[in-house]
């Protein structure tokens, strides 16, 4: 039987949810306008006053915020509460420029914990469970979010952080962990290591995993589920909006329910900024309607996905977002074609290869090159060069069918591509270095 953490919200009727969102949005816009000069200036520039926003249908009147705004406003420009009321910060990894810092009041933390508690409950977690949190702790939201959610549910929490895989596995066995929370690439690595150590999934008590913070494919889900003997649930979030738990998967494992009582989701055309109807693929935009310290209105996530409404078989009415096809910053344009690493990963797993791979993009004589290093499958190893080259050709052919462009595939030794304990580095784009 499906269990809910907050049935009233998770299964609210559309009318009830709309009314709640309307009230919260109106109050939030007023709060932001009064306390955040940066956004007030944007609204004034657009000629929008808080009184113009009467409900969710007026959302489109509000200006967007982008990551560039967050960088401009660093560190305090989007803060809506005095620092004396803030209790914590978190920060993005800052790989592509200045870090983004988000602030939390105690109430913000409590609401975030509840969002993660809903995710853990949807994955079958109760206070009887032992929840191993192997996301990184620290500025990264992964560890703190699931740790908080696990406490809220009342699970015995193992705040492992990422890394030290031998110790992860030892605690998993000795303390009987039933739920594992980490990035999907780290889950795959733990699964691989368990098999190397000769441990069978039957020797573990694990039943579920909550994996997020990086894009992963359906094929990777099945492979992790098999290697760890669990059901694997996706979770979505971003530091700018709170962290993991903005959306979570239910037993249907088909899209993630957005915690709409806290975050209003829109899909827009990334080119024009115009809202798109439900079901169409576009850029996901979030408006925080309960956050106090760092309330972002119409924040463009650069994640491309679609929304679907309607009652889910799990009983929840919360709108569902499909697994993002990729963050628009993950998208590479190679020879004019849009390429997501997740597409390549799908082909690799379908063809029986490990989901550990490295994509290298470069520009030689004004033409883009795409090189993909793939760990060879030891079961397919042949002493004949032509057989091995045939494997490379067939894989290149399958990737070409998926992407529409010809890659060069390089088979390398198993386990020779660096495993990640946090977010995996899959792409090296050398074209940027030449600019």
């Amino acid at each position: 039987m499906e269990r809910y953490w907050n049935q009233e919200m998770e299964c609210a009727s559309p009318e009830v949810m709309k009314k709640l969102q309307d009230e919260r949005l109106v109050a939030q816009v007023k709060h932001v306008y009064e306390n955040v000069k940066y956004y007030r200036d944007l609204m004034d520039e657009k000629g929008v006053k808080p009184e113009d926003i009467k409900g969710t249908e007026d959302l489109r009147k509000l200006p967007f915020l982008s990551k560039a705004d967050l960088r401009d406003a660093y560190p305090f420009g989007l803060l809506a509460k005095p620092l004396s009321e803030c209790v914590r910060i978190h920060s993005t990894s800052g790989t592509t420029g200045r870090r983004v810092v988000a602030f939390y009041t105690q109430n913000d933390i409590d609401l975030w914990d509840e969002c993660c508690a809903r995710a853990i409950t949807a994955a079958g977690g109760t206070n009887e469970d032992v929840c191993q949190v192997a996301y990184g702790f620290g500025l990264f939201t992964g560890g703190a979010g699931l740790n908080g959610g696990s406490h809220t549910v009342g699970c015995l929490t193992l705040p492992m952080s990422s890394g030290n895989t031998d110790r992860q596995i030892q605690f998993m066995q000795d303390l009987g962990a039933t739920i594992l929370c980490c990035t999907p690439s780290y889950a795959a690595y733990i699964g691989e290591t368990i098999h190397e150590m000769g441990i069978s999934p039957d020797d573990l008590k694990l039943k579920a995993g909550i994996f997020g913070a990086e894009p992963w494919t359906e094929e990777m889900r099945r492979s992790i589920e098999k290697s760890l003997g669990i059901k694997a649930y996706d979770i979505y979030g971003l530091t700018e909006i709170s962290g993991p738990g903005v959306a979570f998967e239910c037993s249907e494992q088909n899209g993630m329910h957005i915690n709409e009582d806290n975050f209003i989701a829109e899909i827009i055309d990334p080119e024009t900024g115009e809202p798109l109807p439900d079901g169409e693929v576009g850029e996901l935009v979030f408006t925080s309607i309960t956050k106090e310290a760092f309330p972002l209105l119409r924040y463009r996530t650069r994640d491309l996905c679609r929304l679907t409404r309607g009652k889910c078989s799990c009983g929840r009415t919360l709108v569902k977002m499909a697994k993002p096809m990729g963050r628009s910053d993950d998208m590479m344009i190679i020879r004019g074609v849009n390429v997501f690493p997740s597409q390549i990963e799908t082909v690799l797993i379908e063809q029986g290869y490990s989901p550990n791979y490295l994509i290298e993009v470069d520009r030689v004589n004004n033409s883009d090159t795409l090189d993909i290093s793939v760990e060879m499958n030891p079961d397919q190893f042949s002493d004949k060069v032509k057989d091995m080259q045939k494997q490379e050709r067939e894989l290149a052919e399958a990737i070409k069918t998926m992407l529409g462009i010809n890659p060069k595939v390089h088979l390398v030794s198993p386990k020779s591509i660096t495993r990640s304990e946090g977010k995996a580095v899959r792409v090296i784009d050398r074209r940027k270095l030449h600019d």
């Binding site: 060879m376 030891p378 190893f381 042949s382 002493d383 004949k384 060069v385 091995m388 080259q389 490379e392 390089h410 088979l411 390398v412 030794s413 198993p414 386990k415 020779s416």
Partner: protein
């Protein structure tokens, strides 16, 4: 008659890869009798015949190398002009397809040995036998 087994190992095309394999083999006191390295731009396939096939395979697998074992034909022919040509004619005459071959040190300085990888070991072996060409078993090679 029992043909010899050849061990093939996948090695990355990077410095120190072959050295790593040979170091492992050395540490186990294994003697390599015959060896060839096929290279592509991405990787190499090291083929070897050792004096202890099972121990070599276990050692390499334990170290995480992709390994495969294939049956090959090994011949020993007089070190005079035309001998290899004759042996190949025998195989060609039987319609045996040859994948690759490599020479290795034989028992005496008057003969020379070859590892021949064919698609049909049974047929190749019977044809060579009929033509009176000496074939080496795994035991023969390990005792060389």
């Amino acid at each position: 008659m029992a043909n010899a087994r050849q061990i093939s190992v996948f090695v990355d095309n990077r410095p120190n890869q072959l050295a790593g394999v040979m170091r492992l083999i050395k540490d186990k006191g294994i003697n390599v009798r015959a060896l060839s390295l096929a290279d592509t731009k991405d990787f190499g396939i090291l083929r070897l015949i050792a004096n202890d096939t099972d121990k070599t395979v276990d050692t390499l697998k334990e170290a995480g190398y992709p390994v495969t074992v294939t049956e090959i034909v090994a011949i020993s022919i007089p070190d005079t002009p035309g001998q290899l040509s004759r042996a190949l004619d025998v195989l060609g005459g039987e319609g045996v397809n040859l994948e690759y071959l490599y020479a290795f040190l034989g028992k005496s300085d008057r003969s020379v040995s070859f590892v021949i990888r064919v698609d049909d070991v049974e047929n190749a072996s019977a044809a060579l036998n009929k033509a009176g060409i000496i074939q080496l078993t795994e035991n023969d090679i390990s005792e060389m």
